[in-house]
């Protein structure tokens, strides 16, 4: 199993970090762990199987999210190697935690048991808290971690309570048994809705959807930017994977009960995220609100609850991971040079660093949904799923929101290109960062212009879940 490969490498890194404290050597080591795991991944999955007493399932849906998780961590490792704030002290522990976080992600997306879901998500959360607090001497970092921890404890507590009630109701936490029982139609709709909302609290916290989003801005701002990139992409993808598995696979019989609630959450998530993002002055905070809003668009695919909705959401997650990692990568590059994350300090970046400002513009335009970049097709697919199933209101709110969003993405671009530089800019080069950015940049263009293979891949991935 790829998880074992990751674990072995993680321990090797931890042990060798007593002798080697070189950021790049350990980084390459972590990267090779990811590469080895990804190479092994397709072989570990031949047919859909269940493992460990039905705790884990290995289906093409989980395979899709495992691939995405490994990709995200790989990019984050590269970003961390190029991030100057991360010193070589404790660097071994950093990669150790990151790899363990990946293991948690791989487990979470393949869990087939509520308890397993809880455990793996909790493992991911604990590691995330630690990673956020990794800049020990930075008060913002500690504050972010504390907030993250408090919110996380509360929401996962509620989720655990929901799981315990489900156990009381069904006598099991095994999802396949639970879904069989639900499909007989013996469960009261209201009761199950309450249970679902409780579980939603935990998952919504991971995906940063309204009203469980409050932690996001502080955590995104305080965390080391490489970790922010990780949190914005990794746990969010995992949260959506679990959300999809629960809501569209196991609890789909209750669709009529949760659809209105989800629609409201989707509308509020995108609207609140976008409107608050307008007034942000720190780019990491702005991207935090933007990623809340993006989660709102993704939820459209869930609300629709059809095969094309699923397709949209999976593609959106892929595109989102690419462009958000890219945007944070550029933020790292800039902050290495000017030691600031204020949007104002991006003024005149085109003059000092034309390549970075070009790339950041592409990522922001993709987030704004300008064709033919990847982000556009994400929006295109979820909106088309909404129109197809006659969720016209949702589609209209969605498109209006993307107009609002365009404003604040363009604002950053405006500072970069339309204003003259004010700050001293000492250009810092970093090969790993460059590689990471080139990769996601190519991804944003390829997934935008040559989308067919991606759609086929996604179609094959959703099949086992959506029958």
């Amino acid at each position: 199993m790829p998880e074992i490969i990751l674990l072995v490498f993680a321990i090797i890194i931890l042990v060798s970090s007593f002798f080697i404290r070189n950021k790049n050597v350990l980084g390459v080591c972590a990267l090779s762990a990811i590469v080895a795991a990804s190479l092994y991944l397709p072989q570990s999955h031949k047919t859909d199987t269940v493992l460990f007493f039905n705790m884990l399932t290995s289906d093409s849906f989980s395979l899709f999210f495992k691939e995405i998780s490994l990709f995200i961590t790989g990019i984050v490792v590269l970003l961390s190697m190029g991030y100057k704030e991360l010193t070589e002290e404790y660097i071994g522990e950093y990669y150790f935690l990151l790899l363990n976080g990946t293991i948690a992600m791989l487990l979470a997306v393949s869990s087939n048991n509520l308890l397993m879901i809880y455990l793996s998500l909790e493992m991911l959360s604990l590691i995330s808290y630690l990673l956020v607090a990794f800049l020990k001497n930075n008060t913002l970092s500690s504050e972010g971690a504390l907030k993250y921890f408090l919110f996380g404890a509360l929401s996962t507590g509620i989720m655990l309570y929901g799981i315990s009630l489900i156990y009381g109701l069904f006598g099991t936490t095994d999802l396949s048994i639970i879904s069989k029982t639900i499909n007989t139609g013996q469960i009261n709709g209201l009761v199950s809705l309450i249970l679902l909302v409780m579980i939603l609290a935990g998952l919504g916290f991971k995906c940063a959807i309204v009203p469980f989003h409050m932690w996001a801005p502080d955590v995104y701002q305080g965390a080391p930017t490489a970790v922010t990139a990780f949190i914005s992409a990794g746990p969010k993808a995992v949260g959506f994977a679990v959300l999809l598995r629960l809501f569209t696979n196991n609890f789909f019989y209750l669709y009529a009960n949760w659809v209105d609630l989800m629609m409201l959450i989707s509308i509020f998530t995108m609207t609140i995220g976008n409107i608050i993002a307008i007034s942000q002055t720190n780019i990491k905070r702005m991207l935090a609100y933007s990623s809340i809003a993006q989660a709102g668009y993704m939820l459209i695919g869930l609300v629709v609850g059809t095969a094309s909705g699923m397709e949209g959401i999976l593609y959106y997650i892929l595109a989102y991971a690419l462009m958000n990692l890219g945007a944070f990568g550029c933020v790292i590059l800039v902050s290495n040079s000017i030691r600031s994350d204020a949007i104002e300090d991006y003024a005149g970046l085109y003059k000092k660093d034309p390549v970075t400002s070009f790339m950041l513009s592409i990522f922001l335009l993709s987030l704004a949904g300008v064709p033919p970049l990847a982000g556009f097709w994400g929006k295109f697919l979820v909106f088309s799923a909404a129109i197809q199933s006659k969720f016209i209101l949702l589609a209209i709110v969605g498109v209006l929101n993307s107009v609002v969003a365009a404003y604040y993405y363009m604002r950053v671009i405006k500072y970069m290109y339309l204003e003259e530089p004010k700050l001293e800019y000492i250009k810092q080069k970093s090969a790993p960062l460059q590689i990471a950015l080139a990769t996601v940049m190519a991804g944003v263009f390829i997934a935008g212009l040559y989308i067919s293979p991606f759609l086929n891949w996604i179609r094959n991935s959703q099949f086992s879940l959506f029958q």
Partner: protein, 492 residues
């Protein structure tokens, strides 16, 4: 497969733009050469297209059709017919001339010409795409370079104008996206192909057609612009640098009009009939309101900008009549307006680079100092106000003639607009060319050779179409007749 003319025309500018990205920033001469070469080649290709175009055929010509995203039936489908060929020629011509006009850009040339060529690709693609998704993608591609071109190289309020343009057009076109999706899901089999959808036009229920029509209308009306969505236009036109104003007025506004011709009317014919009268009344408001506001301007460029609002009203009016004459007039009006107003913006630019002001009251007596310039300005102003013998008259007259058969009262009031137009253009000529010479302008030089090179072709076209309208009409007549037949309009 024959030579892919259309692909070359559309993507040649983009290829040139990418080449420019890899040229050193300092080598401005090379950058300009590349830009001129690719826009020039695109122009030559479009001329080849014109000569090989079969005017009698009403179907698509030079078609290219490849699958792009098979799983949702999106194809890379290009083609031209009589409706688009004129606009393609207009775009390549203005792209080439404005490229030469851009030589006076003196900052950040590398970025400028890259964005310029990207813009050119987007504009050309919009007129050629026959797949709604492809159309939308190319339509949206226009936005981004335009934002930068106004925002970086524009006038004092450039940032405001650029973001206003961006948000307005994005807000409009995003509704168009919903309309496109609605088309897809209501057609059987699901398709984005404009031609396929055209075959089944009118099979949707009226209420559904109305909803889709409004969605597309929001996208196109912002671009045209139709009152009350026109407020971005004066800002964008005034702040943009001269060559970009030329393209804004000459080509971008036509994208909206073309959308009505290609999508709204033929694919939603019942809704088009339903909305014909409001459409005509909006055209009337555009004509009269635009003219009155233009009359009040003291800024030369703003005056021309509002005259665009007024002139585009004739396109709306002619199209709404759904008669052969009216639609022919409307389509020709788009072409003519592109040529004439493009020329007008060049002329404003000529004056601005010399006097550094656009205030009409600060000129005066230039007729003596700049005789050649005065001559050209007079020709364009007269063409714009609709003097018989020049191109503007033909298309405005045809639009009015067509619409008079259907909307008598609206047409009669619209003619008022022509009177006001004559008023403000003559008033402008008087303030700029006649009267005592303003002392600040004693040493103003006449028009340069490069500027002449840009203006002469436009002027020749204005005169040619004015004297021999069939030169332009022959390309579009057959297609327009088929278009009217399809939407069930009056034969007149």
């Amino acid at each position: 497969m024959s030579f892919p003319f259309l692909t070359c025309i559309v993507f040649l500018p983009l290829a040139g733009g990418l080449l420019i990205l890899f040229t050193p920033k300092k080598n401005v001469g090379l950058i300009k050469t590349i830009a001129t070469a690719v826009t020039g080649t695109a122009l030559i290709l479009s001329l080849v297209l014109l000569f090989n175009f079969d005017c009698a055929k009403t179907s698509m010509q030079f078609e290219e059709n490849m699958s792009w995203i098979p799983s949702i039936n999106v194809s890379y489908h290009l083609g031209v017919d009589g409706i688009s060929i004129g606009l393609v020629f207009l775009t390549t011509l203005l792209s080439f001339l404005a490229c030469i006009g851009s030589y006076s850009i003196d900052t950040r040339q590398k970025e400028y010409f890259f964005l310029y060529l990207l813009l050119s690709t987007g504009m050309l693609g919009t007129f050629i795409a026959l797949d709604l998704v492809l159309f939308y993608v190319l339509w949206e591609i226009v936005l981004v370079p335009m934002y930068f071109l106004i925002g970086i190289w524009g006038g004092p309020r450039k940032e405001y104008a650029a973001i206003k343009f961006f948000i307005y057009t994005l807000a409009g076109s995003i509704f168009m996206l919903l309309g496109i999706l609605a088309f897809y899901f209501t057609s059987t089999p699901h398709t984005f192909s404009i031609l396929e959808l055209g075959k089944t036009t009118g099979t949707l229920t009226l209420s559904l057609q109305i909803v889709i029509f409004i969605a597309f209308y929001l996208g196109f009306a912002v671009k045209v612009p139709v009152f009350p969505f026109h407020t971005w236009l004066p800002d964008a036109h005034v702040e943009a640098p001269t060559p970009i104003s030329v393209l804004l007025a000459g080509v971008l506004l036509k994208m909206g009009g073309y959308g009505f011709f290609r999508i709204s009317f033929p694919l939603l014919k019942d809704a088009a009939h339903y909305f014909a009268l409001p459409f005509a009344i909006l055209g009337l408001i555009n004509i009269v309101y635009g003219a009155i506001v233009a009359m009040a301007q003291t800024d030369f460029k703003k005056m021309v900008a509002y005259s665009s609002v007024s002139h585009m009203g004739f396109v709306m009016l002619g199209l709404a009549s759904m008669t052969v004459t009216g639609s022919n007039g409307a389509l020709l009006q788009m072409f003519n307006h592109g040529i004439i107003t493009g020329g007008m913006f060049f002329l404003v630019g000529v004056l601005y680079t010399r006097a550094h002001t656009r205030d009409l009251d600060k000129f005066g007596g230039l007729g003596v100092k700049m005789p050649v310039y005065s001559g050209i300005l007079t020709v364009f102003a007269l063409a714009s106000l609709g003097l018989p013998g020049l191109s503007g008259f033909i298309s405005e007259f045809m639009s009015l003639l067509g619409s008079y058969a259907v909307f008598k009262l609206v047409t009669i009031v619209s003619v008022l607009g022509i009177v006001i137009t004559a008023g403000y253009f003559l008033y402008m000529l008087q303030r700029v060319l006649m009267g005592p010479l303003n002392e600040r302008l004693v040493s103003i030089p006449d028009i340069s050779k490069r500027e002449l090179f840009v203006l002469i072709p436009l002027m020749l076209i204005v005169i040619l179409i004015g004297v021999y309208p069939l030169a332009a009409l022959k390309y579009q007549m057959a297609s327009i007749e088929a278009f009217i037949q399809k939407i069930g309009g009056g034969a007149f």
